[in-house]
Symmetry: C2
Subunit: 368 residues, 2 copies
């Protein structure tokens, strides 16, 4: 990914001080590009919970490195148990995110394969890096599979720009690199296909306005910011050719938990015969949960709705209150789009219809 | 309507200075309650265009009084033509609003019925007042018709609060009094029926967050602010019993233009078998237009999306920029909900299904 024409990932071990993990503090974007260092488990939990980092893949990668930071400070006699406890704490930081528990389980599992605290720590460090590398590689691959879909639409339009609507940020900022929803878009750009992205601003946290619009700008992808309310109207006008979103957890039957409001866009896409795709590395599948309604939905503080931050006239980051004193706000972070509204799931192994049998055929080793 | 326990309308002639029109500057709400005086046509146009006043009925009433203010300053020799020109200028200030042209035409029509400039001005003044009075009275009446629907839901729920979702502000702030979507809610409250309102914040202008939540608070109606993204999820959870919205223009076939995002809520209501009602005084019907797609949709400045204003920590009204420099935003203000998604239209004459024949039966004199 490009930031001011320099290549970055969203998380990495400090070169000079390999017991520290570097992240980009996404709360400061797009106004300030701030690299933050995480030095212990608490830092990692805070970074996830308070959304210094966010997004399916990056939460997973941060959990992996968070376990590594935890491991560095565990009591040797009680290493395994304390590692599990660290994992529990991480798991609780964002309840809907599937990649979190997936990464935690993966670290605990590799740690159990070796003996001796030093060996365990080394193995955990390797695995955290492997989780991050794999996230980037799977996103790169799913981008290639999504590219085929965009290419077909482009040919139908005789090369006119393909208008892609996305919700929230499932870009490289949400993963280690490439992104999920954005990977096909970057692949299309690299293949010389004209694309234009409609960016839902994504209330209340404004991931679209603050992150996706900026990320696409950094990559020179033409994009237009819209309110979350506007997508249906644009679809009715014929101004949307396809929707691609990410997901925080997808059941093995194809129900998709993603940022609140995704369901509304899926309904509008269906009503206007517009293909609605969900892009995900397989780490985001929940192989234990059948029904989307069984996915825990995170509820965050109402002040994320009543207060908004941005740059004031003097260029200082300022928070303003929109509402009258005493206004009560309810803030669910995710909703579930039922599989029936999903045209296809774009994964690192290919594109599959969103149903149990097709998903199982693509990931046969996950059959339960 | 109640503001700080005192009765107000949203527009009135100054008692002491009857050549001045008083409005509440809604841009200042909910932080400041500011009464603004309009003294000429330009003031009225600015008030409508820059949204000091907004909402179907109030735009109509302001247009009526705007014509009166214009009439006060016209060249007597050229009165009729200049009055028409004033009407043209008013009509252009908000293209989607039906009540605007309706009020302008009504004023021009009554002016033509009398001779002599003084008589004309007096007649226009009376008619502007009649438009305002009628708006309040029609809203009161449609509230009674909507009450019956809420009452039935309340009985089904054995008196548990009826959860009503609304989008934008179709409250008394959008009319002269009572409101359209809110009139049945106030009528239910007066009838002792427990209600709770889900208030869509309504980006980009935040009419829900700034106006509806405040208006309901002033009336002691329990309400909860949510993002525009949240309604679908709440419906899936069973937390919404009905939707009531207003409209800026409804075709004689029942297609409903309303604040952008309304269509998405109608889709979600349909998908979850939740009744979706539109409340309107008949002045909002467009008796000339058949298809919703033929309604002109206003496009406003993109800075309404990229910049947000509220109170800073010191209590000063401050505008902050959410986005990176160079972010391009597109800002359509309305969308069209097709009649097939509308359960019923609540009018001053009763509730009607949203189709040409039923609407024509309720308003037979409008048959074309």
């Amino acid at each position: 990914m490009q930031i001011n024409n320099q290549h970055y990932r969203t998380i990495w071990l400090d070169q000079d001080s390999p017991k520290e993990v570097c992240i980009i503090d996404q709360r400061q974007l797009p106004h300030k590009f701030v690299i933050e260092k995480l030095v212990n488990l608490d830092d990692a939990i805070t970074a996830i919970k308070d959304m210094h980092v966010r997004g399916a893949g990056l939460i997973g990668a941060t959990a992996g490195y968070g376990m590594y930071l935890a491991a560095l400070n565990l009591v040797p006699e009680n290493f395994d148990q304390e590692l599990e406890e660290a994992g529990e704490l991480l798991n609780r930081s964002r309840p809907t995110a599937k990649n979190l528990k997936w990464a935690v389980d993966r670290i605990i599992s590799v740690s159990a394969e070796v003996t001796g605290v030093e060996n365990k720590i080394e193995r955990i460090k390797e695995e955290a890096a492997a989780i991050a590398d794999e996230d980037a590689e799977f996103c790169r691959r799913l981008g290639q599979h999504g590219l085929a879909i965009i290419k077909e639409l482009s040919e139908k339009k005789n090369g006119a720009p393909v208008n892609i609507l996305t919700h929230c940020n499932a870009g490289w900022l949400a993963f280690v690199d490439y992104g999920s929803a954005t990977a096909p878009i970057y692949a299309a750009r690299d293949a010389g296909i004209a694309v234009h992205v409609w960016v839902d601003e994504t209330r209340p946290w404004n991931q679209g306005a603050k992150l996706t619009a900026w990320e696409l700008q950094q990559e020179n992808i033409p994009n237009t910011l819209i309110t979350d309310n506007a997508g249906g109207h644009l679809m009715q006008r014929g101004d949307v050719d396809m929707v691609i979103v990410g997901t925080d957890r997808t059941t093995y039957t194809g129900d998709v938990a993603n940022k609140i409001g995704t369901y509304l866009k899926a309904l509008a896409a269906k009503d206007n015969n517009i293909p609605f795709y969900v892009a995900l590395p397989s780490s985001t599948f929940d192989w234990q949960t059948a029904k989307g309604s069984d996915i825990p939905i995170e509820e965050r503080d109402g002040t994320e709705i009543t207060m908004v931050s941005g740059l004031d006239r003097d260029g200082s980051q300022t928070t303003v209150t929109l509402t009258a004193p005493g206004t009560h706000a309810l803030n669910y972070s995710f909703d579930v789009t039922p599989a029936r509204l999903v045209t296809g799931l774009i994964t690192e192994r290919g594109v599959t219809p969103a149903n149990e049998q097709s998903i199982a055929e693509l990931f046969p080793e996950k059959r339960t």
